[in-house]
Amino acid sequence: MLKNLNFFLAEIKKVVTLCIFLNEAKMKRRDFISKSVGAGVVAGTGFSLLSLDEAFGNSISNSQAAYDLIALMGGEAAEMFEKGIAALGGMSKFVQKGQTVVVKPNIGWDRTPEFGANTTPELIAKIVEHCLKAGAKDVFVFDHTCDNWQKAYNTSGIEKAAKAAGAKIVPGNDENAYKAVTVPGGKSLKNAKVHEVLLNSDVFINVPVLKHHDGAGVSFAMKNLMGIVWDRGYWHRNDLQQCIADMVTYRKPDLNIIDGYRVMKKNGPKGVSVSNVSIEKAQIISTDIVAADAAAAKIFGKSPETIGHIKIAGEMGLGQIDLTKLNVNRIKIS
């Protein structure tokens, strides 16, 4: 009977997949065009950020977007983001009209915001708001949670805040939504299954929380990419630190915003009590994921070289680990 049932299920699946395939085929061309336009625009802005402004010798206020990294301290999470993104020239530098955006917070745990185990919900809401204001067609928010996803989405306050800001909440619990991709520069991690919402979106904004992590040492921007894949056990079995760095070669986030407002200093990543948290009121914003992690490590009180995956990523040339080589804008709010 079971066999028959399985057969029946398989048949249904076939029919549905066929429908989806036909639908996708229709979409693909449009998608391809919009994506390439999007990429072109991003590349174009990058070019203008780095060289055009300088070439034309604009004043400092105009060339402020040339910063590699914005570090903020002293404000509320959402407030710091507003200042920081303004210093980079606004969200419209990253999100073009009509594009789709994925905002990927850390929603790993069934913990309230006070634990510092998940990204601050107000920050996510503010980012979503800015993306929509910049003309984004859709903003998706999702994470492959560790605790039960409904509980984590709910308790973290992120679902409610993001929804209110106009985002679409996407569950990350369904294996069928994860599609196989290759990790081009991977040493240990050569293949992974990545959530389709990421595959279908133009802009990827990575919004981790800055915290301690018992397995990887720390959990910042690179570690947050673990939440876009299905099989995390593979990473743990096959040199975790190397795998975390490898994943960066698949797709670098267009923007990394590390939320260091509440910093879980020990017992991470889930935390045991709120006494594990230090209110640092810090935030790092950068397009360079390795540089962002290096700066976050300093805020956490560690040298970037002592953290396996940050060190490996630096050696693989995935970003700048040496903060002295970066043009950092430090903004203090009091």
Binding site: I20, D174, G215, D239, L323
Partner: protein
């Protein structure tokens, strides 16, 4: 005159079926947890078990549904079977559908003599088996539990599949209103017995009307005995009867003897179908008068007495069990170890029973395997067992840490369990009232600590065991920490090992046994960290307060 009875019965029974059925289907937590026990209050066997579990702990009224059923039966006979029993209603629907496909002659029911030996034999064996301390036969035959298993094991996967197909289609179109849910079927072999029972019930319903209820169901037989003493009975008015047989043709219980113009009321489920088909208003509920009693006085009385005796027997059988649970014996529960193909160390000493179930002994002795907790568990860690609790614990749920793990703060299973095999965690205020006889504000710090230890987060259902030889950090010398990462109390923490590497270290005193470490451990096929169930649940110590010495940064460190 009593023609309203049938439509009333149909409406009430359909509401019963839909509401109870939905409890098992609902995966989105849309039914408030406090409703579950109220909705299932009248279910006979769960109510009886729940009553015995709460005996001596106050809160008796909340478990007295079965008394209401007994009183109702003393008034109107076995109306429970037609209005309240979800399996009865389920059969009525199957019967109704199957009769649509039958030829007229075949669709006619005839009077059959009662299966006296079978039904009383089963009732007596069930009763005797309770004295041996096993609830197995009640579990297998109880109509509510059977209905629960059918819903949870067979209909729920279909329902979820439908949802998933719809959700997938909507998501492709960019709508994220519905979400796919994992179709969680445990061990397929654990479906064999429920499938057999489903076929039995279906066969009885399609071929023999309410035969299951009148031969196999111990609740039906018991209430049948009680109904010998009913105040109102459905009877044939001999002066009006022409022996046309119309009433007999529609009687699902085969209990109308037209030739003798008599009704075997012990098998009548009070569905009122016969009342409506009689043109001459010759069959209906009427008060049992003295005159009528004289017709068969001795038989009725004897049967009623037998019924009362059986009920007392069942009650005392169950109490023996619930008393025995308080005596903490060393050999509670015969536990078959889990079979792992490989490392000997990776065998569990005991399986883990859900938080709130107090001990393996209490749990396996009070659970009728209705699988409501299996359906309700948000993480899907509860799975029907095959032989994890031994043969006679078959189908009773266990914590399957390969499927998932227990959410630290969640109390859903204990909130919904209708038999109180999983006892509810009482809110602290109420707990203070009943336990310490004072309000929460009056409690001393020690007392409030005690109350906190009675919270879900303080209950230890198992203890962690680390098997170093299987651990990635030890075998591969690469970072991992999956177990510690998931641990809610840091009973598993990473301690310095070689260089930057850290190795798990366990502290069983603060372990709650949630199984997150075992679930998260990436090693295949044998996990490097497992949770052994506690035979008797303990109180876990509070994790030590970890405060941070350093002050927050004043200046940018770069």
């Amino acid at each position: 005159m009593q023609a309203y009875l049938k439509p009333v019965r149909i409406v009430i029974s359909i509401v019963t079926l839909l509401v109870i059925g939905f409890l098992f289907l609902d995966f989105s937590n849309s039914v408030p947890v406090t409703w579950f026990r109220d909705i299932l209050w009248l279910q006979f066997v769960p109510s009886l078990l729940s009553f015995l579990s709460t005996l001596g702990n106050g809160l008796i009224l909340s478990a007295c549904g079965f008394v209401a059923i007994l009183l109702l039966t003393l008034l109107f006979g076995r109306v429970y079977c037609s209005y309240i029993c979800p399996l009865g209603v389920f059969q009525d629907i199957i019967i109704w559908i199957s009769r649509k496909f039958k030829k007229k002659a075949k669709a006619h029911y005839r009077f059959t003599p009662p299966k006296t030996w079978l039904r009383y034999g089963i009732l007596i064996i069930v009763c005797l088996s309770l004295f041996t301390g096993s609830i197995f036969l009640v579990e297998i035959l109880d109509p509510y539990s059977n209905f629960g298993r059918f819903m949870s094991d067979f209909f729920r996967p279909v329902y979820v599949l439908g949802n998933n197909l719809l959700a997938n289609i909507l998501q492709k179109m960019g709508f994220y209103v519905l979400y796919p849910v994992k179709i969680a079927i445990g061990d397929p072999y654990a479906l064999v017995v429920p499938a057999f029972l489903l076929l039995l019930v279906l066969w009885c319903a399609i071929r023999k009307g309410r035969l299951y209820c009148n031969a196999f169901c111990p609740v039906g037989t018991l209430l049948g005995l009680v109904s010998y003493g009913s105040l109102f009975k459905i009877r044939i008015k001999k002066s009006a009867c022409t022996q046309c047989g119309k009433c007999m043709f529609v009687c699902k219980s085969h209990c109308i003897d037209v030739k003798q113009q008599r009704i075997d009321f012990s098998r009548c489920t009070g569905c009122a179908d016969c009342i409506n088909v009689c043109d001459r208003n010759g069959i209906r509920y009427s008060l049992v008068s003295d005159k009528a009693k004289k017709v068969t006085p001795d038989k009725s009385k004897r049967r009623f007495l037998f019924g009362s005796l059986m009920f007392i027997g069942v009650l005392s059988g169950l109490s023996v069990k619930s008393l025995a649970k308080n005596a903490k014996t060393s050999d509670d529960g015969a536990i078959e170890p889990e079979h792992n193909n490989g490392h000997e160390d990776a065998m569990k000493e005991n399986q883990v029973c859900p938080p709130g179930s107090q001990s393996i002994h209490h749990f396996t002795g009070a659970c009728t395997a209705c699988h409501l907790c299996v359906s309700a568990c948000p993480t899907g860690v509860l799975k029907p067992s095959l032989f994890e609790w031994g043969f006679f614990g078959m189908l009773q749920p266990y914590m399957d840490y390969h499927a998932s793990f227990c959410n630290y703060e969640c109390t859903k299973c204990s909130d919904v369990c209708p038999t109180k095999a999983i006892q509810p965690f009482v809110p602290q205020e109420e707990d203070a009232q009943t336990h310490l006889q004072k309000s929460l504000e009056e409690c001393t710090p020690e007392e409030s600590e005690l109350l906190k230890s009675r919270l879900k987060t303080g209950i230890q259902i198992g203890t962690v065991r680390f098997i170093k030889n299987n651990c990635i950090v030890y075998t591969e010398e690469t970072s991992c920490g999956s177990c510690s990462e998931h641990c809610p109390t840091k009973a598993v923490r990473m301690v310095p090992y070689k260089g930057e590497l850290t190795l798990p270290q366990v502290d069983t005193s603060i372990c709650v046994g949630c199984g997150a470490c075992e679930y998260a451990c990436p090693v295949k096929p044998n996990k490097a960290i497992i949770v052994d169930g506690c035979k008797v649940h303990q109180v876990a110590q509070k994790p030590p307060e970890d405060t941070i010495e350093e002050q927050p940064l004043e200046e940018f460190p770069f």
